[in-house]
């Protein structure tokens, strides 16, 4: 019981600190922060699935869906960040609900790859659609906040504050879900669906619920990313490699904690930024190399690192 409370307190503290830091950090750091929040949200969704032993190699589907939903709304003249985010999140959740009826029947690698296949279909559709700028994508008007439209550096500061606040709500929500009975079912389902079924609950329904949650989170991440970048395009929103990055962040973070996901997302951003800055010709080599190193030497992800340190301290 106490354990859970500590997580909540930790989250609240982190929230307060970051909110304060928002006004001190240089803009490029804040921008990395924004992307961390966006990708972290998707990874959090994958974490929820992973707790039942399922992983999706296609969540760029919901990420891109959310991003494009937000972008299309700004095209239609709706620029309120809150409306954009909620709409993107819900529409992605709805899509997940529909596909879930099919996907909930699959497990293990088949589940992962069927997701990937669906994300490719969205990618193909986007590239094909000239109205949506095909591979160029199109611009996203900078968001307003209940009528207030920031200028200059305030653009990112406000967006970060906004995203951070919603992220806090989302993370707490997911945390509460995970400690709930429904969330607790995850391990049971991972271990023995037959028993769960014979205790009177549908394992498939539990999985379906998780899938929808992961879809909602990915849509949320997509909206944040779209608003941060100011442009949506298939290659960086819906391509299969994007899904791969999300899985990487999830594995990098480990299933240990909801907070770890965001640390993982941040590490990912930093690796990429520095690889790109110091090795412009071989940045993929560095990126891939670090992925590989982490997979091989940190099987439990960063969280295990934290625990190891704790043990070391004694």
């Amino acid at each position: 019981m106490a354990r859970y409370d500590r997580t909540l307190i930790g989250l609240a503290l982190a929230f307060a600190l970051l909110m304060a830091a928002n006004f001190l950090m240089p803009e490029w750091v804040r921008f990395i922060g924004l992307q961390t929040l966006a990708r972290g949200a998707v990874a959090l969704g994958l974490l929820v699935l992973w707790r039942t032993g399922l992983i999706s190699f296609g969540h760029a589907l919901y990420f891109g869906w959310g991003a494009y939903t937000a972008a299309l709304l700004t095209r239609a003249g709706i620029t309120d960040a809150f409306v954009l985010t909620v709409a993107a999140t819900l529409s992605a959740g709805l899509l997940a609900l529909l596909l879930g009826f099919l996907l909930r029947r699959y497990r293990a690698i088949f589940f992962a790859l069927l997701n990937m296949a669906f994300s490719m279909i969205l990618y193909g559709a986007l590239v094909k659609t000239e109205a949506l700028g095909s591979t160029d994508g199109f611009g996203v008007a900078s968001p307003s906040y209940f009528g207030f439209a920031p200028e200059g550096e305030a653009v990112t500061t406000t967006l970060f504050a906004f995203s951070l606040t919603l992220t806090f709500v989302v993370v707490v929500g997911v945390h509460l879900y995970l400690r709930s009975t429904l969330g607790g079912l995850t391990l049971a389902i991972r271990e023995n669906e037959i028993r769960v079924e014979y205790l009177g609950y549908s394992a498939e329904r539990a999985i379906h619920i998780k899938y929808v949650i992961s879809g909602l989170l990915a849509g949320f991440g997509g909206a944040v990313m779209a608003m941060a970048i100011g442009q949506v395009d298939p290659d960086s929103m819906a391509l299969w490699t994007v899904s791969g990055e999300f899985v990487f962040i999830t594995v990098l973070s480990g299933t240990g904690s909801v907070a770890a996901t965001y640390v993982g997302a941040l590490v990912f951003e930093l690796i990429r930024t520095y690889a790109f800055e110091y090795a412009p010709h071989v940045w993929q080599l560095i990126l891939g190399g670090s992925l590989l190193a982490i997979i091989m030497f940190l099987p439990e992800g960063l969280w295990s690192l934290r625990q190891r340190l704790a043990r070391a301290k004694g």
């Binding site: 950090m25 240089p26 921008f31 000239e130 160029d136 970048i229 442009q231 930024t273 412009p280 993929q284």
Partner: protein, 436 residues
């Protein structure tokens, strides 16, 4: 890595960023960032020739060995530090990189960008961050016509893609007056879609008697296999084939179409094949029409201008191959930047100018370049119009290299809309005010 060490990293990096944002006084060097494709499919066709072109020019600028009017050292006397970086990896990454370059690595200006999508993604950021950004290549006219209608920090030093297609249509009209029908083979992504749309529009105005095919080929970009497309083109009634293929797809298409006699059966019009013509050499099918997005690359081979002669020589000496379109286009962007800095410094009493002064010095100028004048005539003096040329490839046996014959050159004013007119509307409206 642990949280604390992240914090450390962030603080350090943050400190760096803050430290950089000092006054521009006593400038020791101008940091010139050049984004272009160093990896991926864009690298051979665009990225590497472009980088090479820039390296040649920047070195000469720092040594002060360029011919007039660029014979002074550096930008406004300050040596240029070149930062070439990879343009591949998608817009999200490019926008992030752009911000990092400006805020973390204190880049003074950008010259480059090949992908239309990336240009569109970067434009608002450049304006937001007040970073001087000179687009050297990217084609789309949307940048200034839709996205950034009141540009301040963003320039483009070559005509946008519409002029490629207008010139192409004019060439068809001039050289194949009798053409009854034309079809298209274009990659199914923004560049291909826009290229066909503009060409088709221009043809409807310039050669209304010719009819566009009902069955246009839209292969996926990087598909690499075009057997079926070649068959379909061989079977089509239209005698003219328009294609905006580039890079590996272009070369693959040529390898797959040549043995099947497509280039003998049909008149094929390549709008951007200039990039491949030297590399393919003898394998380049004879008698095809091609353009290089302007009087660049092979079209500049015989252009007898001191600046151009110097560039070709320096480039060949250094890399052993001839400069292609992108080499010229990127180098041209650098020239424009030097022009702006030098002029602004002069106006500033020899003092190193602020970015805003450079912009003021560039807006609306006619900047001399290798084979054309970069006339910043459109969109409040930020969008250049440049000359254009199309011709037919012929293998010159004794010279041992390809040549352009039947070249038709087009004045910038002939293939570009007048200021204030949206290019697509301009074509639809019958290209009023074109001075040919």
């Amino acid at each position: 890595m642990t949280r604390s060490s992240f914090a450390a990293q962030l603080l350090v990096a943050g400190a760096l960023a803050l430290a950089g944002t000092g006054p521009a006084a006593a400038k020791e060097q101008v940091v010139l960032a050049v984004p272009t494709f160093l990896t991926g499919a864009g690298a051979p066709a665009f990225g590497v020739p472009a980088r090479n072109g820039v390296e040649v020019v920047v070195q000469a600028i720092n040594d002060g060995t360029l011919p007039a009017p660029y014979d002074s050292k550096g930008f406004a006397g300050v040596p240029v530090q070149l930062e070439v970086y990879d343009e591949s990896g998608g817009n999200t990454k490019q926008v992030t990189e752009f911000r990092n370059k400006v805020q973390k690595q204190n880049v003074d200006l950008f010259v480059g960008f090949t992908s239309s999508g990336t240009c569109q993604a970067v434009t608002p950021v450049a304006e937001e961050l007040k970073a001087l950004t000179i687009f050297a290549v990217c084609g789309t006219q949307r940048v200034f016509e839709e996205l950034d209608t009141d540009p301040k920090y963003v320039f483009r030093t070559m005509s946008h893609a519409t002029s490629d297609q207008v010139a192409a249509a004019l060439y068809v009209k001039a050289k194949f007056p009798g053409v009854k029908g034309y079809t298209g083979l274009n990659q199914n992504y923004a560049w291909g879609q826009d290229s066909w749309r503009d060409f088709d529009l221009a043809m409807q105005v310039i050669a209304p008697e010719a009819k566009a095919s009902e069955k246009l080929q839209w292969p996926k970009i990087f598909a690499g296999q075009y057997g079926a497309e070649v068959s379909a083109l061989l079977l089509s009634e239209e005698e003219l084939v328009h294609t905006s293929f580039w890079g590996g797809d272009l070369e693959a298409f040529i390898f797959q179409a040549s043995p099947r006699g497509l280039f003998e059966k049909k008149k094929v019009l390549f709008t951007v094949a200039g990039t491949a013509v030297y590399r393919l050499g003898k394998k380049m099918p004879q008698g095809v029409v091609l353009g290089s997005r302007g009087p660049y690359g092979i079209f500049a081979a015989e252009k007898d201008d001191p600046l151009n002669k110097w560039f070709r020589q320096a480039y060949v000496d250094r890399f052993g191959t001839n400069p292609t379109g992108p080499s010229y286009q990127y180098a041209q962007g650098v020239l424009a930047a030097k022009f702006g800095y030098d002029k602004a410094a002069a106006a500033n009493g020899g003092q190193f100018p602020s970015t805003e002064q450079v912009i003021a010095a560039m807006e609306g100028q006619k900047i001399p370049s290798f084979t054309t004048t970069v006339n910043l005539a459109l969109n409040k003096g930020h969008q250049a119009i440049t000359d254009h040329a199309y011709g037919v490839v012929k293998w010159d046996a004794e010279a041992g290299e390809p040549k352009m014959v039947d070249v038709v050159s087009f004045a910038a004013e002939c293939v570009n809309p007048p200021d204030g007119v949206n290019s697509v509307d301009w074509i639809k409206g019958g290209m009023k005010g074109a001075k040919c």
